[in-house]
Amino acid sequence: MKKSLVVHILVMVIAAAAGSFIASTLLMDQNKLSSARIKVGQKSACGFNKFIADVQWMLFINYCGSVGSIKKDNVNEVYTRLASIIRNDPDFEKAYEVGTLMISIEASEKALELLKIGCDNPRLSANWKIPFLAGFTLSRNVNAKDLPAVTKKLKTDAEGFFEMAAKRSPSTPERYVISYLMRAKAAKLGKTWKAKGSKDAIQIVNDKHALLCAWINEANSGYRGGRVEDDMASYSIVQSSTKDMTRKVLSLASFLKEEHPDDPNIAKTLNELKTSILKGQNFCGKCLTVYAAGDKYCSSCGEKVVVYGACDKCGVVKKGAYCSECGDPKTEKKQ
């Protein structure tokens, strides 16, 4: 065998072995960079998928403009175009945010299928709008009878999506995100509610009642504020992002009390509220507004309230162990 042939073969073997090793390493790095890449048809388009997605997006806009509105007869075409864009560029945020919204009424399950891809894409983990849209579509546009099957397929429910959206929000979540999350939690309660530590189940009267029960549950959860890392298990995004939680619960409770003054289930819920969240607080018996020390009447409804924190002798609000006005050391009146 010629010497040059041996050298050639030797060089080829060494280069191929080293090249193969490096290529495998690079492929792993590339997949780490974008896990969605392995799932898409990157190979078929000579690496031009990203550009093809842009062109498809412009054609999609053009098509949507030509059809006027998305109806049953064109929703499949819109979905196919949208799915193709997402296949070519799984990081295309606008396709999820705008495109899926277009088909969310006529083909909610297909819209959810695409939104789920966006939610699961690690490169879009900072996007809260996609899970919010998924939660919104799931809670608003999917028929109640189809909901269990859709939820099972998606492996999460509306609450899960809204919670994901709230947790992904860059600072404090938008108020409507929390509001939708609480509504989803309320919808999950079903027809009865049992307070934490209570044996009796309360019949849920309506959506507002369910919402109040959900808020009470949230307020009674273990989280007491602070950093997420400190207490991950009991961390509640609702508690950490709702500043005036008690006021929110009270206004809801007050509304229900006014709307259903004789309903025993509402009364039971309000009693539960008084013994849990409002425990130790002074509130108006009529409208449930919390009042300050020394107040004789409710500032919200004008109802006479039991005075607390005031001196028995002169009626001035006590600041310490002794009255600053008359020096009376006696204990204050309690509710």
Partner: protein, 237 residues
């Protein structure tokens, strides 16, 4: 080096090359007008257009060598060159280096043009955008090696077609990543240079470019050695 210099000087002396670069830059700049048509995605579109056009330019440059080598072999120019104290391997390496330099210069000019156009239109070119272009510049190395390999045994048209087809399929070899030695060693994976989405959204590291460059060189060594082996058994006029 004389062969390499001859190759890249010949291509870079062509005025049509610069005309094409200007056309490419005009096309990149035109993406700015697609703001309404793309629903405000024109910034992303400009980056994508630039990357695609730069990639096409890189492929065309690599393919251009498939016309040069078979032509020189057919017309006997190569025989004249090889009659001098010059080995066949040196001839191929010279051609490869020449086309790689040409490719890097042209894709580099497009990259610079893109940076200028993007900065004028939007400002704030990110490092990932430049790195995406740098990967395309680096991809010229293995693509040129593929072109040289086909050039030594096929006719001009066949070599050009085979190179384009090979480049196309080289973007799909990652499915064979489980087959050691074959994947990346014998079969090239040009998808390793495809971080076009990441160029737009960010996330390309300098280390990755460096390793990709090393892989490109190793594959070129393999392909050029194979080409040289085939070339050594070829009868020249």
């Amino acid at each position: 080096m004389a062969i390499a210099g001859g190759t890249w000087r010949r291509i870079l002396r062509m005025r049509v090359v610069y005309f094409l670069i200007v056309c490419v830059l005009i096309l990149i700049g035109s993406a700015y007008n697609y703001d309404v048509f793309s629903m405000g995605m024109h910034k992303q579109l400009m980056v994508d257009v630039s990357l695609v056009l730069n990639m096409i330019a890189a492929i065309l440059i690599a393919v251009s060598i498939t016309f040069e080598i078979p032509k020189e072999l057919k017309e006997g120019v190569a025989s004249t060159l090889l009659s001098k104290p010059l080995g066949r391997t040196q001839y191929l390496v010279g051609k490869l280096v020449g086309i790689i330099v040409t490719g890097i210069v042209i894709t580099g000019l497009i990259t610079l043009g893109f940076v200028f156009v993007f900065n004028s239109a939007f400002g704030g070119v990110t490092s990932s955008m430049v790195k995406g272009h740098m990967l395309i510049m680096a991809s010229v190395i293995p693509m040129s090696a593929i072109a040289v390999l086909f050039s030594v045994f096929a006719s001009e048209f066949l070599a050009a077609t085979a190179t384009v087809v090979a480049i196309w399929f080289a973007h799909a070899t990652s499915s064979m990543s489980g087959v050691k030695f074959l994947y990346g060693g014998i079969l090239p994976d040009l998808n390793l240079y495809n971080l076009r989405a990441e160029a737009v959204y960010g996330g390309i590291s300098s280390g990755y470019i460096l390793v990709a460059l090393v892989w490109g060189i190793l594959f070129s060594v393999f392909a050029t050695t194979l080409a040289s082996l085939i070339f050594s058994y070829k009868d020249l006029k």
